[in-house]
């Protein structure tokens, strides 16, 4: 058989490759049916309103209500503002601590790193329910663990029931969330630091760049892409957070809505609470706003951050 007939034969056989479809079908079907379609369904629902038992198209009416009607807009802007603060705390506290821990863990010949890594990652695997309640108990003035501990370092007079005070509750909960998730930036940065080739570090040492200077001038620029990744992961995670606030403060995100974020606001709008009846269309409108915020974040990351910060290649 010469090559030409063989090529012809394969060409003739090629078009019907059923197995490709069989391999793809289950994943594509489940993913499309339970993720993509509901996502678009939600976007679509946000343009309708339930008037006298039937869905009526109202264009951007729900969004006008959300931004303009004081019954909704006060809560919405409050939730958005709180969510931004929640994100800022994560960026300023969680990621720097994660980078510091990773930098220390990756120092050569340091002992017990496996133990530290495992231990520091423990909170990340716990459920929000455990984390929320455990911290609620620890910070509770009834139990007195927190003031007792602060007494050791002479700071007892600074203790207040943080979760119960409007001006502190959100920051306190953000820090609890930071405590839970610091393991993720730590691990990703640690992986990035380990993957820096030894030659680069050795070259730096030959040039007399060591210690802190080596970290700032050599390693940090090389791990910038990973810092970009942890930033976008933090952004997406924070703008769709719900569980921790719900477990610690309930759906009303008390005291007086001071810990309300978009996730809890969506939950209340969708299911209703106390006297307000749940409204799926307004819920969909809030979910749409969250979708647009997250999409904007992801686009900024993909088009601005990632194109500037190409991964170093050797």
């Amino acid at each position: 058989m010469d090559t030409e007939t063989m090529a012809e034969e394969t060409r003739a056989k090629r078009p019907i490759r059923w197995h490709v479809g069989v391999f793809l079908a289950p994943a594509v079907l489940v993913y499309t049916a339970f993720m993509i379609l509901p996502l678009f369904g939600t976007l679509q629902l946000s343009l309708f309103r339930n008037i006298e038992q039937s869905q009526v198209f109202v264009g951007f009416g729900n969004f006008r209500t959300l931004f303009g009607d004081p019954n909704w807009s006060v809560n919405f802007w409050n939730a958005l503002r709180n969510n931004v603060w929640f994100f800022i705390i994560h960026m300023l506290v969680q990621n720097p601590i994660g980078i510091l821990l990773a930098a220390l863990l990756s120092s050569p010949k340091l002992r017990f790193t496996a133990f530290y890594r495992t231990a520091i990652f423990v909170p990340t695997i716990l459920s929000f329910v455990i984390v929320g309640f455990a911290w609620k108990l620890i910070l509770s003035p009834i139990w007195g663990v927190a003031p007792h501990l602060m007494d050791f370092v002479g700071l007892k007079s600074f203790f207040t029931p943080w979760l119960g005070k409007e001006q502190y509750a959100l920051t306190a909960l953000s820090l609890v969330s930071v405590w839970q998730f610091v393991g993720i930036p730590m691990m990703l940065i640690y992986a990035a630091l380990l993957s820096i080739p030894d030659e680069v570090i050795e070259a730096a040492e030959c040039d007399g760049v060591t210690g802190m200077a080596q970290f700032w001038k050599i390693k940090l620029p090389l791990i910038l892409p990973s810092i970009g990744i942890i930033s976008i992961l933090t952004f997406v995670g924070n703008f769709n957070a719900f569980d921790l606030i719900y477990t610690a403060q309930g759906a009303l995100a008390g005291p007086n809505y001071s810990t309300d974020i978009l996730g809890t606001f969506l939950y209340r709008a969708f299911f209703g609470f106390q006297l307000q009846v749940g409204d799926p269309n307004m819920g969909a409108a809030i979910a749409t706003i969250m979708f647009l915020i997250i999409l904007a974040g992801v686009c900024v990351y993909l088009f601005l951050v990632q194109t500037r910060l190409r991964r170093y290649q050797f």
Binding site: H19, V20, V22, L24, P26, A27, V28, V30, A33, F34, M35, I36, P38, L39, F40, G41, T42, L45, L100, L104, L105, S107, P108, K109, F112, Y116, I120, V122, P123, I125, L126, S127, V129, I130, F133, W135, L137, G144, V145, W179, M187, L188, A191, L194, E205, T210, Q214, I229, V236, N240, F242, D243, T247, L266, F271, P280, G283, A287, I294, V298
Partner: protein, 279 residues
């Protein structure tokens, strides 16, 4: 490495910071577990000391086992997690194989389509998911949770597994083809065993968020029959707000299984993260 980078004070400093943070990370967990074995007087009198014969008391655990149907919730969580995991791994590996092995029109587009879900959380579609479940009569069934979690886990699974499947040698697969093996046999007999380490990594990543999720059980399956352990614990804790023994015992019971699994699989998990699977 020159010795200049590892002076003694620097090493001590590094250990000091790491130990401090380890204490911060573990302290709340240890505090909760320790106090769950104490009497009420012990919990409030000396919260920071381990249980002594005088303060040792299992009253919290008896309350939990007497009140909540925790064993049943635990079973529900196990069924949901194991089945979701199975479908994520099977469907995810199949799709990853199709994407990495065959060149077909729309391959890249399909890959991008499936990767969308890595960044966009499935939670945003909740309103329509609930309507869909109501329409199909799946509300308050474990099947609803399994389907949603399978969809949620697939994007990352496909992404990670296709990276690994690209590394499986072509010669091996072609040798199989020459021997007359079907594409299905090649996938199940040759490729799957070779990517087993990657599958384990994906399994751990998929499992933790499913086991810990509160949102979907709360919305799709809140009935007594279908409560998962996370939701059950949440409601139980809400009911027993003033019974500290019971709360601490319930929290400990929720922590321990996850902690034990973590200690067993931590090496796998950490190797998975640091091997560059998620970059």
């Amino acid at each position: 490495m020159s010795t200049a980078t590892r002076s003694l004070p620097r090493t001590i400093g590094a250990h000091a910071i790491l130990i401090t943070y380890t204490v911060i990370a573990l302290f709340p967990v240890i505090l909760v577990v320790m106090n769950s074995f104490k009497s009420r007087a012990g919990i409030f009198g000396a919260p920071l000391t381990p249980p002594t014969p005088k303060t040792f008391d299992l009253i919290g655990y008896t309350t939990v086992f007497g009140q909540g149907d925790f064993f049943h919730y635990f079973q529900n969580s196990l069924v949901v997690t194991v089945l979701s995991l199975f479908f994520v791994l099977l469907f995810g590996a199949m799709a990853a194989f199709a994407l990495s092995e065959y060149r077909f029109r729309g391959n890249t587009l399909m890959g991008l389509y499936l990767a969308l879900g890595i960044m966009i959380p499935i939670r945003l579609g909740t309103v329509a998911i609930l309507q869909l479940m109501v329409a199909t009569g799946l509300v308050n069934t474990l099947a609803a949770l399994i389907l949603v979690y399978t969809a949620q886990g697939l994007p990352l699974a496909i992404f990670i597994l296709s990276e690994f499947m690209k590394q499986v040698s072509d010669d091996l697969k072609n040798a199989g083809r020459i021997d007359g093996l079907s594409e299905y046999t090649i996938f199940f007999r040759l490729v799957l065993p070779l990517v087993r380490p990657a599958m384990a990594t994906v399994a751990v990543f998929t499992m933790i968020p499913i086991w810990n999720d509160l949102w979907f059980p709360l919305i799709l399956a809140p009935s007594e029959q279908t409560k998962t352990v996370t939701l059950g614990a949440q409601l139980f804790l809400g009911q027993f707000v003033t019974n500290w023994n019971a709360i601490l015992a319930a929290l400990s019971l929720a922590i321990l299984p996850v902690l034990i699994l973590y200690v067993i699989f931590s090496r796998q998990l950490i190797r998975g993260i640091t091997s560059g699977a998620v970059k």
